[in-house]
Amino acid sequence: MDVYFEGGQVVGQDRFSYALGEQVSVWVLSDTDEEVHVHGYDLFFTVKAGVPLEISVTAEIPGIFEVELESTHTLLFELVVAP
């Protein structure tokens, strides 16, 4: 597991870096049901309480993108895609 969301707190690495074209894989575990929003790519993932979820994206847009819990706008991590 790469990032945990427990008791309202985010624990884990805060930046994940990839080169353009690579496959992003970040595993997330939360103690509540949440919707995860990958900005820029505008992708939404639903994470169920206690069920690990893989944020899987092809890194095709360069930049630094926030990945948030949509309901509270809590930052989970940042996705860095280098050109």
Binding site: G8, Q9, V10, D14, R15, H37, H39, G40, D42, F44, I61, P62, G63, I64, F65, E66, E68, T72, H73, T74, L75, E78, V80, A82, P83
Partner: protein
């Protein structure tokens, strides 16, 4: 003083305890710029240093900009009056109108942002001031509150003394509040928050105009009236009293900006808030202030502190300059006389920082006009349009960012040189060392933030 500080810190602590962890708020979007490669930084900073020292030796020996704008009529005329004010008013209505769907209990599509964030954070906050550098101060015409005041016939008698007494301090503090809404407030991307803020601001402006008159009220209390005037004073285009567009020469309008109280504060706020936003996403800032960054009051404290640090730097430079030129000059007077020289630097900071926001998030306007209230409409068939992140690659953006920062620095040095000649004479060029040092520091900081 001590007691006041104590109360303030108690309140601050209360806030810190009371707020949950939040994401890095930003007015719009969730994309940050990739850092400029360190080679660009080294080249940019090197150029700045060389230019600065060469400038001292070769710039003109007599003041050239101080007589203010020329007034040569331009060949073209302005768009018909009435068009632009209408556009401004429609924009304001679209933002305040965001309050209507929730009041009617309508369901909004939460995957669509609506038109308010892009109107406020891209069009109003960036495109209008930056465009003013090219076309002159069009904000006075597009200003929806002025149009509203005219329509409602509020603000007949002008209280001109208000500008002398308070200067633009109220406007400066409102500008700080506006950047707080953009950079710190968790609701900055929410249509309802923006609608409510716009409504409150509108009431505030109507009250100000009713109390002080349309011109004086907006000059003192509307954050964006002095801000746009400052930025657009760089423009070679201006408007004469009779409405005719005139060529006035680059930078010339800046040298005749009235020395309102709070002028330096407004420029410092403009530079400081952008610095905070740029620095806040750098790894070193986060590792140093990570705890504070996690809460709204912590971020507020950091935002205000950054502004104060920039203000302190300007004050120190003013004190040093005043010491070098003799007894009749106080630091306060120097600070007022040189405030306009920081305007190009403030503009450069903003342009470099917000360039990609305009290019990328600005595209949301195309989708948002089809569904301005996020009700699932598709008025023009563009509602599903997504942002195209490939309209430009990273390298051209890096070039432009570094070039803009360096250009802002050069213009600042030129303005400061000209003002020093006018105020202190040829012998007092020494006074420039302090301002030059400040400008080199600010420019290097700007480049450092871009490349961190």
């Amino acid at each position: 003083m001590i007691r006041r500080l104590g109360v303030a810190s108690l309140i601050a602590v209360g806030f810190v305890v009371g707020f949950p962890a939040i994401a890095l708020a930003h007015g719009i979007g969730g994309r940050l710029d990739l850092p400029v490669p360190v080679t660009y930084f080294i080249v940019g900073a090197g150029v700045v240093l060389v230019i600065s020292f060469v400038a001292l030796a070769v710039l003109w020996p007599e003041p050239r900009l101080q007589d203010g704008p020329r007034h040569e009529p331009a060949r073209f005329s302005a768009p018909r009056r009435g068009m632009i004010p209408a556009v401004g008013l429609v924009g304001l209505l679209l933002v305040v109108g965001q309050l209507v769907p929730p009041l009617l209990g309508l369901d909004t599509d939460r995957t669509r942002p609506g038109i308010a964030p892009v109107l406020v954070w891209v069009v109003f906050w960036l495109v209008i001031p930056f465009g003013g550098v090219v076309v002159g101060n069009w904000y006075t015409e597009v200003n929806p509150w002025r149009t509203l005041g005219r329509a409602l016939r509020v603000g007949q008698g002008e209280r001109l003394w208000l500008v002398d007494r308070w200067g633009i301090w109220p406007a400066g503090l409102l500008l700080l509040a506006f950047t707080w809404l953009e950079l710190v407030s968790p609701g900055s991307g929410s249509a309802v928050t923006l609608g409510a803020a716009a409504l409150v601001y509108t009431l505030l402006m109507i009250g100000s105009m009713a109390y002080a008159g349309r011109d004086s009220g907006l000059a003192v209390f509307d954050a964006f009236t002095p801000y746009n005037r400052l930025i657009s004073s760089i423009s070679p285009l201006g408007r004469r009293g009779d409405g005719r567009i005139v060529w006035r020469g680059w930078l010339r309008a800046l040298t005749v900006i009235p020395e309102w109280k709070g002028l330096a504060a407004m420029v410092v706020i403009a530079i400081g808030t952008v610095s905070y936003d740029g620095a806040a996403v750098t790894p070193w800032f986060r590792s140093a202030f990570g705890g504070l960054m996690a809460t709204v009051p912590g971020q507020t404290l950091l935002l205000v502190s950054t502004v104060l640090v920039i203000g302190l730097a300007y004050w120190v430079a003013s004190v040093a300059a005043a010491r070098m030129v003799g007894d009749e000059w106080t630091a306060r007077r120097v600070a007022g006389r040189f405030a306009h020289t920081l305007v190009p630097i403030a503009l450069a900071y903003a342009v470099a920082h917000y360039l990609t926001l305009i290019l990328f998030e600005g595209q949301q306007l195309i989708a948002a006009v089809s569904d301005p209230f996020a009700l699932g409409w598709d008025l023009f068939g563009t509602a599903e349009r997504r942002i195209d992140f490939f309209i430009t690659a990273s390298e051209p953006i890096w070039y432009v960012q570094v070039a803009v920062i360096v250009t802002g620095h050069v213009l600042g040095v030129v303005l400061a040189h000209d003002r020093a000649l006018a105020d202190f004479g040829r012998e007092a060029v020494r006074s420039q060392y302090a301002m030059l040092l400040l400008m080199v520091a600010l420019t290097t900081l700007g480049l450092l933030i871009l490349s961190a």
